[in-house]
Subunit: 342 residues, 4 copies
């Protein structure tokens, strides 16, 4: 049996660990052959392949990025996308596809499996941790670690100077990175996309912080938005989901804080440093196990499924269900963190 | 209401994060007062206290160790231990105790709550992750991270030289740290206390590794033991649980490997570096949430319970149940890792 | 003998290591007493002191920031500044001052020593490494390390996506951090304040990079400026030195690159994460030795001097000389790095 | 012109950065061709080569180890070693050799250049920093960083428990790593090979430490030896230099401390973790510059020389001189550190 593997969507530490887990177990325990498809769905669409065997996965466990390349290509938007994929699979004698990706990539896999009878197994991937049906996605722990280390460093600056320090972290639609790194780093304000913030309330927290101790640290998710709609209209842009998004909310917020409180404010934008580099031990463990269980699902002929973490177990859930809705921060969880604000 | 807090047993990154979570929420949301007891159960036994309020918990979140100190004192082994604890609690007007510790500390808390009517809430703590009833304990992720980083570094040495590299990690009775760091680090052999190892099989893996690629890395838990009973009798010692334990298994194994394979072998003993230093972001998050939920249990009068992680939820479980048996590595999980051996 | 210590100017990892070195040696070897002055020159100006003895310096070695606090107060700008300082020193029975700071703080110390007979010894401090007379200042190695780790992480993102990644690092007047981290991180373009850059040349390097390999990484010092004066006039602001400075050069450059090359570009602004957090081993070593040698200078009565690193030796140089001119990047050194551009 | 490159001796972070610097500048600025020799002097001896061009050095900057492999082969110990090297160089049309290595590798290069007219340029490499004629060697800063981080972690354990923590670091003949990491980590005792230690004095420091504060941390270089000759004779082994070396001095010292002070002692042996993994920013910078300057020396026809760091400059020194004697820790420098003992 020959199995195809592809990685789609944004960069995420742990992709290579999944690929390695899939190939090591597939070759050694089940005797499968593998074909790597280059750049996500573009690979099977255009018949662009890379060799994928034991030597090809050596040494890739600790490396960020993906040896298969990635793209946002959507084969369902090509008129004859399905036919071309079928042709590639036939030509390569591939009988099953392991698709590693986020909402978009897995959404395609769900439809290929469900509507077109192309046997797919999914592996969830999103740095933002906003996929339902799995407790965590790999990459998230690494991103939280990078952001937390940055906040740790800012604390000593905050101790010596009377400046507000704003840290903008990833998270367009879900505030998981902001919430976890903000709590782990001991931030004094955490702002997430799930709940519009009130700049005056933020300034209130900042001022009360200054009264009892050194300067405050504000963690803001890139997708967080102020309550005041006009501001959004003035500064915001529409993203591909049609959501209005404030560009550079960190920089914008720092300026508002300076104007309203009279305190100096400085911004750090962590950007892509959160999604690159070597994965954390947790992410390597999770990604490796996802890989081992994905190839088991292939062996079991259990297609149309995605592997997922539940507690400490890896389980299988229907792909369609997994991508149905975004996993956003529970208001209760956010409220729990509120005890540390101000 | 006044609440006492103590930390018992071995060092573990995240203890301070628990204490901070307890105090911040207790003071700010419930208006409680706090008393810190010094050095685990020695504190209430001898009436040794430290002030515990908002200023006392500032800045302690990222710090390893415990601001309350710790010890292995067991009040049940003192003839009038219970009476003395009651006296201290009465004198300090403490109506509830939050006890943060491992098997021993929580075992005492279980009996104090169950048999003597002293209201306790437990917070589980073990670097070894071997407590039942919780998916993870804080400190474990940090230890795995330290061990994984060490293994990462050893890989480049292994690439350039023809030496076997043995890494001895923590884990007397359970192999969680060895298993997780071994998988995350891409070790070629992982040896855990749950399953006696066969030195010849280990040497076989090592030799097969040399054939296809550079030198192998062997991760061995400090409590791992070879199959051959005589060796154990010759080199082993009995620990406080009455288990025979091989002293310095890493050093011993390296010598055996050298003799049997003729390859040079070198040992790294990570020792206490695994349980010190700043906690990982995951451990800070978990420890903070444990603290917030422990004080909630106090407020609810829900004593004789321990907070625990289940998936992404914090739940409460009976203390007695939590400490009933050690959580060891599931043989299936260990077998899963076997695909990477050799 | 009683010695005063103060830290002035911006935050810098290693300040506490200096203070500890001064106090440990001063107390243990010379039997001196110490007075800490709070917030730089504000301390002696207003008579604001903190106790400074062996217990006060315990555990501070690995901590960023300064236990003495800092400020940019300049006593020479106060009409009766000198008189007030003399009064404080007399009242506190302080016979010598150790002043730890950058250009401004040391400039004041030079004049106090030279013109007013107030015995000062200086310890150089600048994250930017732009002080003449010393090979390195502490804090710089830490900042370079933080920036290099960020660049490392960006490489894996660059490998997987076709985006230009711009990293803005510290350095208003000197490009040392950009140069060192850019070289250590394998950046494809490094832009420094010492040499105005040509946006079209930058775009040329970017395009040639895309031709042979994955996306380029551009490291730009915050003080770097494009050749085109008009741009500067449009976007720039004057800083306290009267230099026109482009605000947010990273963000600005990313937009220019997008417009001119048609490639997506993303910006990371590391900001104050570069000057906070625990110092690197090198910085702790350097700062500790600066502290030990500064107190030796006091014992020798060798005032008006600053300690400095020359090779592996700590030497003493006249304060006046040390602050005379900025140490900027030698054009030859910058040219040397040019082999890696594009 | 074609240039050969080889790396000899032990593993050291930064080797790949040198190779990359040599090749990038040699190809791009001087139009040279390159030949990589595999496994140190074994390569030219046996005619074992690897292709070495721009694609071969891509992405290797942050990686530990050496893409050329290494060995301790000494061609001067082969009867016709010189003749075979000449043959290989002639066959490969190599007109100059860049040899990257320590005492042994450079010693061979010195004789090849001086006695046999084979044009060599040397690049110094030793993790131990014990080569004369250069302020620092790359790899050393990385090793010190690894050891310092370990000591940092041990501090929090020392704070919570009453145990002596012994850390054994690298350094057979020179105590640079012990001295720098001990000072940077705030160790309470530092023991180096240059000065035999007195176990009773060590125990005295330990006991005085316990009196004023938490448990002490002892950093001991692997080559450190106690004063008592009998102990050495009983436990020691002779190394290849004929020096008697105590095997496992850390473990041995911990036991002595336990016996003499009655305190528990634990040992951490960092081993090869100190010489593997990604190089620090400082080491990448130094190694890169060494590479750039080594190829300049080739272009200048300046053979029989080694590049070296003096202050912030890269200079050239005669190979023969550079390897004449070991650079050990100056007793004055060691005495300077003594203020922190106990």
């Amino acid at each position: 049996m020959r199995v195809g593997v592809l990685t789609g969507g944004g960069d995420c530490p742990g992709l290579n660990a999944v690929i390695r887990g899939v190939v090591r177990k597939g070759v050694q325990e089940y005797g499968y052959g593998f074909v790597g498809f280059r750049d996500g769905w573009r690979g099977p669409l255009e018949g662009d392949t890379v060799p994928l065997d034991i030597p090809a996965v050596r040494g890739i466990l600790p490396r960020g990025g993906t040896v298969l390349g990635s793209s946002r290509t959507n084969p369902l938007k090509h008129e004859d996308g399905i036919r071309r994929i079928r042709e590639t699979l036939a030509k390569e004698e591939v009988e099953a596809l392991i698709t590693i990706g986020g909402e978009d990539t897995l959404g395609v896999a769900a439809r290929l499996s469900g509507e077109y009878g192309i046997p797919c197994v999914g592996v969830p991937k999103t740095i933002d941790n906003d996929l339902s049906a799995t407790d965590y996605t790999f990459g998230f722990d690494t991103a939280v670690g990078v952001a937390t280390e940055a906040i740790d460093r800012l604390h000593t600056t905050a101790e010596s100077h009377m400046r507000v320090l704003v840290v903008e972290v990833m998270g367009r639609h879900a505030g998981w990175i902001a919430l976890h790194s903000g709590l782990a780093g001991g931030a004094n304000v955490i702002l997430i996309p799930e709940q519009r913030f009130d700049v005056d309330q933020v300034c209130g927290w900042i001022e009360s912080r200054f009264k009892v101790r050194y300067a405050p640290i504000v963690v803001v998710a890139e997708g967080a938005m102020p309550k005041d709609g006009d501001l959004v209209l003035k500064h915001g842009t529409k993203d591909s989901f049609g959501h209005v998004r404030l560009t550079g909310v960190g920089e914008w917020l720092a300026k508002e804080i300076e104007e309203r409180t009279g305190k100096e404010a400085r911004t750090t934008v962590l950007g892509h440093t959160q999604r690159g580099g070597t994965p954390s031990a947790f992410d390597r463990w999770l990604a490796t196990r996802f890989g081992l269980h994905a190839i088991d699902a292939v062996r079991d002929g259990d297609f149309g499924k995605m592997v997922a973490l539940r507690g400490t177990d890896i389980v299988r859930v229907p792909l369609a269900e997994a991508t149905a809705k975004l996993k956003t921060v529970d208001p209760k969880l956010y409220a729990e963190a509120g005890v540390f604000f101000g």
